[in-house]
Amino acid sequence: MADMDFAAPFARMVDAACPPATVRAIERGESHAALWDQFEKSGFLDALVPECAGGSGLSLAQVGPLIQTAGRHALPLPVGDTMIARWLFAMLGKAAPHDAILLASTRAALTRRPPTEVADLGLFENGGELYLAALAGLSDETPVEHVGPVPEGGLRLLAALVRAASIAGAAGALLDRTVRYANERVQFGRAIGKQQAVQQQLAVMAEQCVAARVASEIGFAGPLPLRPEAVAIAKAVTSAAAPVVAATAHAVHGAIGISEECDIQLLTRRLHQWRISEGSEAYWEGRLGTARLADVASSVDWLVAASSVPSR
């Protein structure tokens, strides 16, 4: 319940600060400074930073719902990434910049980022070291600033976990919208949601959304440093769910869902992007499978051990 104490005010803030029109404006290239300023002033960006370093000292499990909320609203700025980045800076005993920081496990992922990924700075990994780069005009030759050693397990674990929670949040928002639409849209003289064929599709979509959320929670359970197998479960399941959820949302919405003015595209485009960001389901299934095959434990033993959260 303590998690809700932070999640509810954060959700209210995002709701007020970032309506769909703002998402579109920032994607068009309009300034995001005013929106970012609100997050900066809210204190939420320092959620993971220890209290002794001026942050809120929240646990990873408490921050998961906040990142899901950002996903729900198709927030066009890397709030979750920046929370993680600021924690990393604090761990290195450095002052974090005030700008919006995007996490990427490689420099190439920053230079080739899609238009949905708007940020000021990029924090990336190269040869076991972290670097910070200004994103404006970033190329493979631009000079970058050395930050410090990468966290245990590598930056990709952290970045993938943020994507997993983002997918879980966006999927949940799409489910709500799609069910609402199915109850409103009338064809053949009744709401399409009364058709069994549509109901069965929406039930499958709901299953995928719940699986994605629970998988994301698995990734966020327990203290930092992250457990690679927990992140692999989170990202593999959310990435596999993303295209199913996006496809069903579009199938139920019909032609209007393809239009720019229908808000579901803000979420479905991001679902596909987050699915392939920092490793698709195939990548994480491969990592998890390698770990699983190296372990002689029975399935139940493995699951029990994987779910027992180590204390900090």
Binding site: G172, L175, D176, V179, A182, N183, G193, K194, Q196, V198, Q199, Q200, L202, A203, V204, A206, E207, C209, V210, A211, R213, V214, A215, E217, I218, A221, A232, I233, A236, V237, A240, E281, A282, W284, E285, G286, R287, L288, G289, T290, A291, R292, L293, V296, S298, S299, V300, D301, W302, L303, V304, A306, S307, V309
Partner: protein, 383 residues
């Protein structure tokens, strides 16, 4: 939606049962071939069930005054997970422990509780659930088996079919019509406890496609039952059955039906050293899905522990769980045969064959996929 399904931790006092039940399960599972253990639900071993009863592992959620252990659904989750994880034979107490005992506790009279619950907790009584009929599958409200009032109780006529465990059972809890007709749908249905040794009862086993006879047809021809055969309230059978199904649909049994095969395959891969990229990914995919489903099932268990009846959530977990259970044999078959020159031992192939053959039943028993998705849709306000 469905925010109630959220990560939960099994309490340490329930987790503490794990090594004890594990040791007991090992007694009957160690050294037994995987294709035999894969039949866990059908594995009938009275001595083992009595042993579990004596050790306090049956009726875990029941009050002590009826022979139970007064622990919660989490304790039952741990015990069931350990038994199914190794494919221990559970048929002799399974249905009584999971469904019949909670039903009798919730809806039965004090006399019924005292009569049935202690022997169930000792692992001595085997129950089956009489729902399906030749004309009533998913459309359960159309049952035609009928019980009419007599001077001393009830007279039962009709037929049940596909009744799991009927050939071994002492009692059936049957959903029957006690008033009205098929047009009354959910009204007029009641649940009766039928002594399967009563005159007029004929149980005829049905052989399944794998050669086993775990289900049966059960005929009732003027079977006289005492008045106290009625369980709960006359005419409330439908509501009682639905409360019961939340227990049936939410447990770990809905994710572990193919677990013995999965472990046999993983062992084979480690032994043979085969690790193509596709095979490794498949192992990872099963692991990720299983871990997520287990967390969802534990979340449902948490709802039961809070006294809720997670009908919709349980349907969601069961549909997703049986999909994984069915994907496991299909994908493992493709994986093994993607290397036709590799030697695969007979035990693994027999296990694969068995699970492949019975896998369609995973999404039939306890409510078909289509019925479950309808329940989920209703939960989302679509019907």
């Amino acid at each position: 939606m469905f925010e109630t399904l959220s990560l939960q931790t099994i309490p340490p006092e329930d987790e503490a049962l794990r090594p004890i039940i594990r040791a007991l399960a090992a007694e009957v599972a160690d050294g037994v071939a995987a294709d035999v253990r894969a039949r866990s639900w059908q594995g009938f071993d009275s001595a083992f069930s009595r042993r579990l009863g004596a050790e306090g592992f049956i009726g875990l959620t029941l009050p002590k005054r009826y022979g139970g252990s007064e622990r919660g659904p989490f304790a039952r989750f741990v015990v069931v997970e350990e038994l199914l994880g190794v494919g221990a034979p559970v048929a002799a107490h399974w249905i009584a422990d999971r469904q019949s005992a909670p039903l009798i506790l919730n809806f039965g009279t004090e006399e019924q509780r005292q009569h049935y619950l202690p022997p169930i907790c000792r692992g001595e009584l085997c129950f089956c659930i009489g729902m399906s009929e030749p004309g009533s599958g998913s459309d359960l409200a159309s049952v035609r088996t009928r019980a009419d009032r007599t001077a001393g109780g009830w007279r039962l006529n009709g037929q049940k079919i596909w009744t799991t465990n009927a050939p071994h059972s002492d009692y059936m809890i049957a959903l029957v019509r006690t008033s009205g007709g098929a047009e009354d749908r959910h009204d007029g249905l009641s649940q009766l406890i039928v002594d399967l040794k009563a005159p007029g009862v004929v149980v005829r086993p049905i052989v399944d496609l794998a050669g086993d006879a775990h289900f049966a047809e059960v005929f009732f021809d003027d079977v006289d039952l005492p008045a106290e055969a009625l369980i709960g309230v006359e005419g409330e059978g439908w509501r009682q059955v639905n409360a019961e199904l939340a227990f049936e649909r939410s447990g770990p049994e809905r994710i572990y039906s193919s677990i013995v095969l999965l472990d046999a395959w993983l062992t084979h891969l480690r032994r043979s050293g085969v690790a193509t990229e596709a095979t490794v990914r498949l192992a990872g995919r099963f692991t990720a899905r299983l871990a997520t489903l287990r967390a969802m099932s534990i979340a449902c268990t948490g709802q039961l522990a809070r006294g809720e009846s997670p009908v919709i959530e349980a349907s969601l977990v069961k549909d997703l769980g049986t999909s994984l259970e069915q994907d496991i044999p299909q994908a493992i078959a493709d994986d093994l045969a993607s290397r036709p020159d590799d030697a695969v031992d007979g035990e693994l192939l027999r296990t694969l064959a068995y699970v492949t053959q019975v896998a369609p039943s995973f999404s039939l028993r306890g409510g078909t996929r289509e019925i479950l998705r309808g329940i989920i849709a209703r939960g989302m306000g679509l019907r």
